[in-house]
Subunit: 442 residues, 2 copies
């Protein structure tokens, strides 16, 4: 690992400490008890969708693969664990040579999911798999929550582009992952330079109210911006009086003005007025960008308004009411002994309290109707029925510890658009409802 | 900056790209227009508290100081900005030598805040201050949201310790900052090893359901854990049948068993039953830890239950319904010209739409009554009234670009406890309400 590049979110740093303390104490006890090498199958899934949501979006898989690849215990980390008595000497020794050597299958990133969908399956020794729980869930829970909100917003926006601009509303590195997830969900660009740097997502932006306020007059500000950024720039027109600012904007930039941005007020009303005014001033090609506390409902309400692009911040990075998605990582099967040939036994928690799950290593397939529209998420633990053999959802991601399924972000984004288009039409209704297709267990 | 240590969240990496694209285009236009050097004052504040909340908690200040100190544009970053035409050549040249050289004052970390409180004030040239907006807001908005939720939970928990265990429910690095904010708000420990490594927060944890399921029987699992981790360990007792597991736990570990953990079911009911059973078995010193989807309301509802510690995950890291806190960073005053002696002019957006703010460089003081209890948050732009002179809230954090106010996390935690204790008693009511003291402008 080249740590010299880690100053910015270029590479994933060693991810070994993004781990709950108890993963290591379980490892210690299993090593001591002789069960650490039992072949084990863990699955990541969610018992339900966030309330009212009709589908989930798998996002973060690419980051999970980076995290697994970089899960290493270097000397600094081992020293910390030793100094704080987190685990004993033999466990530290085992950790020093840790490399995940197992297999990972999962839903391809961008795919949709439903309650029970085994979105990730991790198989190897108990010891090597259990350690990955925390970081896998951190990534999937965060990124999938953002992507699901983004997908709903993208449906609501239709052909109009969405700009992700929520960096200031969430942790600075969560923001970078949020931009990535938003792009998967259908956003076109981001304000976050780190997301451009790390993932090649197009970055955009021109000016804020501070820029206007810096100048002695709005005219000075607009002139300075047009001189420096060109007539194609976007002028922010709601610092003082919108109508006066629009007039001034076209006077300064001419009818070639790229766009005006409105960041406050009754956007529906203001957008109509501004469009009329721009047209009257001959700026018929000048676009209108709106950016004030939008969510999928506000976006939908502007469908008939003369708006050309939406900027979304807070509601995107907070998952529009659902900032996480209750993904869990459960041991579903394990060998009877440490013998690598020992058969797998399905296991599951069975206490009362609503947290039960279904044991056994699972396959999943999406059954479609005659028109190719999704009809049911079918999940099973035995042989895959012949009619579902070519509809299986899990793909191989890591084989014997080696990542085998890297892909460009645009492929993930396209996959999501296709997956969403394959759902029944009611999937993209914004009203609250149940999962748009049922989960069937066979 | 020693980039070799950046593999884990030890040092803050260069933070220059945690920045919205428009900060740089504003810089370019201001450089070109000759306004970049105007002395400017930016303030971070929030127009309102999250709905129903009675006070806010300033958290993240220490991380902001790290971010300012590490805000550098190295060659990789400049190459990226050049290749993507983010800004022009002269701007890149200016960025290459960027170091913040201004002053920062702010509420000390851990202090409480109210609508309008100027929690951070950044002063310098427009150019050097505007660039810091995004990363300052990312940190404050995230960390303060988590700390506010933590503070409410800590009030509800009273003397019982709270364990932060939400790493798996949020972005892996947001989780580290969340642990830090939770500690400030009053949590005692964390499950997150990275938070222990980075901030020295005590880490705790023993085992999950997977550990029990790995074994051929619950007895095997308990025995393996006790052999490895000792009788003082915490056994998880709700994998199968709680009563049977409690009986077994005491049989295996003896009455010296440290604790049992309950992670599902009706905690109020189950805690009482388990306590009775433990006492009957002679394990009167064995503690009960509960950890199932707790928030401040659930914690409060368990006040009369025989519970010894609470583990909180999802609701902590998602701010218990308010994952961000709408902090903004506004230009409130700037010089009339680039002359360093030019007087400051107060400025403010004044368009309609609810996003107006008050111009001018502000002071803030907390007025107290005869008993020393907070009575009002007083904010002004002129001279500080004599009776409030020694109640001022802003302290110097950065002087001429140099951080002057680093402090240990325990001092911040103590400050928060004292600040909360200085509020009227209704501050810690969990019911929804208004800010517990009014904000007065003079």
């Amino acid at each position: 690992m080249n740590t010299a590049d880690l100053g910015l979110p270029v590479d994933v740093p060693s991810t070994a400490l993004f781990t709950d303390h108890y993963e290591l104490t379980m490892l210690q006890a299993a090593l001591k008890g002789g069960t650490a090498d039992r072949r084990s199958v863990f699955e990541a899934f969610t018992r339900r969708l966030p309330e009212g949501r009709r589908y989930g979006v798998v996002a973060g898989t690419g980051r999970v693969l980076d995290a697994i690849e970089n899960f290493r215990f270097d000397d600094d980390v081992l020293d910390f664990l030793r100094a704080n008595d987190v685990v004993d000497g033999p466990t530290l020794e085992w950790l020093a040579s840790y490399r995940f050597s197992g297999d990972v299958w999962g839903y391809p990133e961008g795919e949709v999911y439903f309650p029970g969908s085994p979105v990730l399956r991790v198989e190897g020794s108990f010891a090597e798999c259990v350690l990955l729980e925390t970081v896998i869930l951190s990534v999937l829970n965060h990124d999938s929550a953002i992507a699901a909100a983004a997908s709903r917003m993208a449906s609501a926006a239709g052909e109009r582009p969405l700009i992700e601009m929520g960096a200031r509303r969430t942790h600075e590195l969560a923001a970078v992952a949020a931009s990535r997830a938003a792009y998967i969900g259908g956003f076109a660009s981001t304000s976050d330079l780190a997301a451009g740097f790390r993932y090649g997502i197009p970055t955009v932006g021109t000016s804020a109210h501070a820029f206007t306020l810096l100048h002695d007059s709005e005219r000075d500000a607009f002139e300075a911006q047009v001189v420096s950024l060109g007539r194609g720039t976007t002028l922010l027109v709601d610092t003082y009086d919108v109508a006066e600012a629009v007039r001034l904007a076209v006077e300064v930039a001419g009818p070639e003005l790229g766009a005006v941005r409105i960041d406050s007020g009754d956007l529906l009303l203001v957008a109509h007025r501004v469009r009329r005014q721009l047209d009257e001033l001959g700026a018929t090609g000048t676009r209108i960008v709106v950016t004030s506390d939008l969510d999928e409902y506000a976006i939908a309400s502007l469908a008939a308004a003369p708006v050309d692009a939406y900027g979304v911040g807070t509601q995107l990075v907070t998952g529009s009411g659902h900032p996480t998605c209750s993904m869990v990582y459960k041991l579903v099967a394990r060998a009877e002994s440490a013998d690598p040939k020992a058969p797998l036994v399905p296991v599951a928690k069975r206490s009362t309290g609503g947290k039960t799950s279904i044991g056994g290593r699972k396959w999943a397939a999406r059954r479609v109707d005659g028109q190719g529209t999704a009809e049911a998420e079918v999940i099973g633990t035995g042989a895959v029925p012949a009619d579902l053999a070519d509809r299986q959802l899990l793909v191989e991601l890591v084989k014997g510890g080696r990542v085998v399924a890297r892909e460009p972000l645009d492929a993930v984004r396209d996959r999501h658009a296709a997956a969403r288009a394959g759902l029944p039409l009611s999937a993209t209704q914004l009203s609250r409802g149940e999962a748009v297709i049922p989960t069937e267990y066979v």
